[in-house]
């Protein structure tokens, strides 16, 4: 989906975009793209993972490391889209695949990426998308098919710059899909997840962190459709907003008729560090089955005064106390992050945001 297609879609689907006026946001060049890129290229290859590099959207096999992953794992090109197919019972868990997206020129107007991921029966994949900061708009159109009992552990870092992504996931019977996404200083960013649990006893766990300041605008829209009985879904998002930034969380749980014994939970928490920051949270539950467990929670607040005084009375200045509380707020999310090696990668991205 190109930038124009995203804008077109945002105009068509007004309700789903009511807090994110894409056209206006793209036109206002208010956001500064962070100069610091976080992880410098090549430094994350400490583990055995495969690291596939994309420059301006073009896959660079020669600059990539594959570890023990076959080099034919990724097919296609920028124009026709990339595909990543995992056969039956193929397991790539111990060799997580990291897709790194870099840009090196200001000339291209946009980078429209298209991915098709297909994981066969009982296949296992751990995949991280890592978008380095760029002023060039990046659009991501990703389709994921999980065949029976397939498992995808999916992570994403959008480190800054216009980023529009739609991840569509279709899970068949007994699948597991998890997503952990970090949106850092984006201008604007829309991270959209559309997860359809089509087969019985599938599970999904959607998690994320938004770190915003300046005039950043980021939008996380997560929809889970329970279409079959006995599926489980969890959504857990935390946002930190400073200055005049704006965050949006739209979380939807839709339970189809017949999707009995659905177990679903959604939580969004936001911490506002400035009077000018704004968070819009829209939880939505649409339930057409009568034997289900669905709940949601949402909180938007500022720093706890008691905690601030506690820390300051122990010698930390206001800024240090705030940093400790923000870190605590986020690190509760990281504690649950799997695989373990991602924790360090995400932690570094968060630290880099603090230091900017």
């Amino acid at each position: 989906m190109t930038l124009a297609a995203f804008i077109e879609r945002s105009k068509r689907e007004k309700e789903g975009w009511r807090y994110t006026d894409l056209e206006a946001l793209l036109a206002s060049k208010k956001t500064v793209i962070p100069a610091k890129a976080g992880i410098p290229l090549g430094s994350a290859a400490e583990n055995s993972s495969a690291r596939l590099l994309f420059k301006n959207g073009v896959f660079q096999p020669k600059l990539s490391t594959f570890g023990s992953v076959p080099s034919c794992i990724l097919m296609g090109d920028l124009a026709s889209g990339y595909s990543l197919t995992l056969g039956e019972k193929t397991c790539l868990v111990s060799q997580p695949i990291e897709l790194v997206f870099e840009t090196d020129q200001e000339s291209s107007e946009e980078i429209p990426l298209k991915f098709s991921i297909d994981i066969g029966d009982n296949g296992r994949l751990t995949l991280l998308e890592n978008y380095r900061p760029t002023p060039i708009p990046v659009t991501v159109d990703m389709d994921v098919t999980l065949r029976p009992r397939a498992k995808l552990v999916h992570g994403k870092i959008a480190a800054g710059g216009p980023h529009l992504a739609l991840h569509k996931v279709r899970a068949q019977t007994g699948c597991y899909y998890s997503n952990f996404s970090l949106l850092r200083g984006s201008a604007p960013a829309r991270h959209e997840l559309d997860v359809a649990l089509e087969g019985e006893e599938s599970q999904t766990s959607l998690n994320g962190i938004m770190l915003l300041r300046g005039h950043d605008h980021a939008d996380i829209t997560a929809r889970v459709a329970h279409k079959a009985p006995r599926c489980t879904s969890r959504q857990n998002y935390r946002s930190v907003l400073d200055d005049a930034s704006r965050g949006v969380f739209q979380g939807k749980i839709a339970v189809s008729p017949g999707a009995q014994k659905t177990d679903s939970y959604q939580l969004s928490r936001a911490l506002l560090l400035s009077d000018k920051a704004e968070m819009d949270a829209k939880p939505e539950l649409e339930i057409y089955a009568d034997d289900v467990k669905c709940s949601h929670g949402s909180s938007i607040g500022d720093l706890d005064e008691n905690a601030m005084f506690y820390l300051r009375s122990r010698g930390l200045n206001e800024k240090e106390a705030q940093a400790v509380l923000v870190e605590g707020f986020i690190s509760e999310m990281l504690d649950a992050l799997q695989p373990n090696e991602w924790r360090e990668i995400f932690r570094r991205e968060i630290e880099a945001w603090h230091d900017l």
């Binding site: 506690y310 240090e320 400790v324």
Partner: protein, 249 residues
């Protein structure tokens, strides 16, 4: 030496402290006792610099330095420490991280070098052990899921680590069973020193059986109504605060 002169403080326009005069010489332990609502906690917060309290009159001098006007962190650097009545839970921040950040901030402000990770670990382990807190408690989030006694012990641990010179203990005995009380008292007594001044704020005389004060003051209706030796605490235990129930002149 702590010298409080004619201290008036109000919260949201309501005057709570109505002219407190109190002098605590260096090395001494003084107890402030009083009925509920007498202004005990307000006094502890005003001493430690909490926002939300307006000091309308008076002064608080600590070793000749005026504390009013200093931020809580400046007071901490000057040696002030408040052991809270209700220690705050901080999810996501480990006790270890909290203690490290705190000690290094205070050391930095005092012009001392920061401790490295190994020195810090060694120090925290030793101090935690002395107050009967397991290493596991250092790894857990600050006060989260701690029992009442553990929270109070954690306060004393912070005090032992930061080595303040003015220790204010606000109702440290509340909610403690007798065993926990003894552990806390041992921790506090171990820190008594000619260089350290302590103010123990309490409703009951019980804690003073274990931490013997040099002097006892009765705070009621925002003023020190009576001062005396340790025997005053025993007297209050028998007679209660009825004598101070009227807003006397």
């Amino acid at each position: 030496m702590l010298e409080i002169h004619n201290l008036h403080a109000s919260i949201a326009g309501k005057e709570i402290l109505k002219g407190i005069d109190l002098t605590v010489p260096a090395g001494q332990v003084h107890a402030i006792m009083g009925p509920n609502g007498s202004g005990k906690s307000t006094l502890s917060y005003v001493l430690s610099g909490r926002e939300g309290y307006t000091v309308t009159e008076g002064s608080i001098e600590w070793n000749g330095e005026e504390l009013l006007g200093m931020s809580p962190e400046q007071r901490a650097a000057a040696g002030v420490f408040l052991a809270m009545q209700y220690p705050v839970e901080i999810p996501g921040v480990s006790n270890m991280t909290f203690l490290k950040a705190s000690l290094n901030a205070v050391r930095k402000a005092r012009g001392e070098s920061e401790l490295d990770a190994m020195q810090m670990l060694k120090l925290l382990r030793a101090k935690a052990k002395a107050i009967g807190l397991s290493e596991d408690m250092l790894k857990r989030a600050v006060n989260v899921g701690f029992s009442g006694g553990e929270k109070k012990r954690n306060e004393i641990l912070q005090m032992a680590v930061l080595e303040p010179t003015l220790c204010i203990l606000d109702e440290t005995d509340s909610g403690l069973d007798i065993d926990a009380l003894k552990i806390i008292a041992d921790g506090v007594n171990a820190m008594r020193s000619p260089k350290r001044t302590m103010l123990i704020i309490t409703h009951y005389q019980r804690l003073l059986d274990y931490i013997a004060p040099d002097a006892v003051h009765v705070l009621a209706y925002g003023k020190i109504r009576k001062s005396g030796g340790p025997e005053l605490a025993k007297e209050l235990e028998q007679k209660g605060y009825i004598e101070f129930s009227g807003e006397a002149a």
